[in-house]
């Protein structure tokens, strides 16, 4: 599978912007580095995808042919893996990923109201990102925090017994953090 073939099927968006070109170059370098670091491990694809998503916040479309080439897979195979797992995403997301547990234990103590509250307060449906790029709302099936249901996760932090007040306090904390130079789509920083 040649690179020419690749670019015919997936033409790169035309850009005259220097910043964009720089970003693309950075992305390519990052992707290459992650592939290099993991490609000799047995079953390297998931570790590579995790490394790229941790670093960039998503799996860029242009990373797919590069990964495929290095692992001797077809692009369809790599794409198939990325799209199979709920965790991997090919679109940039918000700075914070707010995951609301939708599984049974949480349902038993008001989880469905919490789901509705999250959607309503944020004005987002599942998988959507707020217009300011701060928050992406995702459903999750079980965080293993079932003895303290209902649960919400943001980055590495898991919150238990989340009622309306606790959820709103969380949003306050997330949206009033001082602005940093983190690019949109970067991995959500730990919330403490």
């Amino acid at each position: 599978m040649s690179d020419t073939h690749t670019s015919t099927l997936h033409p790169e968006p035309h850009s005259n912007d220097t910043a964009d070109t720089l970003d693309v170059a950075h992305t390519d370098a990052d992707v290459a580095e992650h592939i290099e670091q993991h490609k000799t491990r047995p079953g390297p694809l998931l570790p590579i995808l995790h490394a790229i998503q941790n670093d960039l916040g998503y799996i860029p479309e242009r990373a797919i042919p590069t990964i495929a080439k290095h692992l001797n897979l077809s692009r369809a195979e790599v794409h198939g893996v990325v799209s199979f797992y709920h965790h991997f995403t090919m679109v940039p997301r918000g700075r914070h990923i707010v995951e609301v547990c939708c599984a049974e234990s949480c349902q038993a103590v008001g989880g469905r109201s919490l789901e509705a509250l999250a959607k309503e307060t944020l004005g987002l449906n599942w998988h959507e990102t707020s217009r300011d790029g701060q928050i992406t709302l995702e459903p999750v099936y079980c965080l293993g925090n079932c003895a303290c249901s209902p649960s919400v996760r943001v980055g590495k932090q898991i919150l238990g017994r989340v009622d309306e007040a606790r959820f709103k306090a969380l949003l306050d904390e997330l949206t009033t953090q001082p602005l940093t130079l983190l690019p949109l789509g970067a991995t959500s920083p730990e919330v403490n």
Partner: protein
Amino acid sequence: MSNHTNTRLYIPRDSSALSMGAEQVASAFIQALGSYAESEPPVQIVRNGSRGLYWLEPMIEVDTPQGRVAYGPVAAADVESLVAQGVFSGDTGHPLYLGPTDDIPFLKKQQRLTFARAGVVDPVNLEDYCATDGYQGLTRALTMSAQALVDEVKTSGLRGRGGAAFPTGIKWQTVLDAPASQKYIVCNADEGDSGTFADRLQMEADPFGLIEGMTIAGLAVGATQGYIYLREEYPHAHEILDEAIRIAESNGYLGDNILGSGQCFYLEVRLGAKAYICGEETALLESLEGKRGMVRAKPPIPALEGLFGKPTVVNNVLSLSTVAIILAKGADYYKGFGMGRSLGTMPFQLAGNLKYTGLVELAFGVSLSELLYDFAGGSRSGRPLRAVQVGGPLGTYLPESQWDVAMDYEAMAALGAVLGHGGIVAFDDRVDMAEQARFSMAFCVAESCGKCTPCRIGSTRGVEVIDRIRANKDRENNLELLTQLCETMVDGSLCAMGGMTPFPVQSALKHFANDFTQ
């Protein structure tokens, strides 16, 4: 580190304790200790795992001459008054004082074997681990032949704790007998069932127990490489396991010369990526190989052709952790617990709408109602309990008339129910069982790997049919259609995902029929 003049203050680093504010409590104590008079005896903060008394988290403990005493649930705002009243000398007058930890009834009534160290030790302190009988199993295992190790596990009667309850020793025998240049030990730590958290608790509280169990498994079947397939949803467990593996490696418990025996075993954690189906062992293996988590047809069984086509032991976290105990204490000791063909202990996990939630490790055979009322104290909401789902999202809903059932594999099977991984999710009388049935189908739509038609298409049609029933569209015929659809999925699916998704639906139809006709 282990200066005995220090007072030890235990603040858990378990995910659930953190979810209730344990980190803030720790920060408040560190701050309080900063202004603590220098004349006072020094206080050492230990970040332990959880005891599993989750409704009391964050539960802190203090060493006293009379043993450890507990306080909980502690909020950061309570720290000032705790320190002022003398928490470091085990003050008994504070409103959050719970008494000696081991005397708390919820814990005292348990039989902790697999979870003996949970919440007691610092999870990444190897000295703590060895001081509490850790690595005795491995030390003994290194003096035994591979066959003797497999025999010991067979004799113990241990059955897979992941849910399928297959005898662990028999699986190991198959792998031992399979000639191959490379074999693997894979730990299934993809604990996706709602209502379960025992694996997570164990990995966060006692990671060396799992590492030791996997090392013993490697010696028993001749495998030199192990993988812990951990779900992405467990970031704290990931951190703790990685740290424990590094410590075990640097102290000669893992690597190319285990305790100077000349035997080798390597271990690493691999992260899943949010796919419930990867808890099914063949989908898990596909995922470890870097593929979509598609279920494989069996045979061949993984014990003969598993990871990368090589003979592979796939065991749950608790099965492997328990192996370390069986080797340390002997098979006969272990099988002294339990009843019939369900030997040993089972960690039951009390979740959902219950007052006292947490982990209860007991010999098999305790009744469901004892767990719901004697341990959990009934509903958290104060309303009557109505339905209890046992065994995760593929487990049946049990109505009150069935709560006397003994919690063992055979008694549950006789009811058409499953024990699974021991998760118990209780609902009060506000639950709409038709909505729960719909969720079971919808969950299968989201999580089916798509390989077989009954699961992939059946679940989608299931959601549609239940929607029509709930909207009272041609209800009689659609109820009949749902019954047939469930039978088709049970009989025709490749794995437990499609094969068991109908269980909660069928039980809701059978025991809570009114909810479908309102």
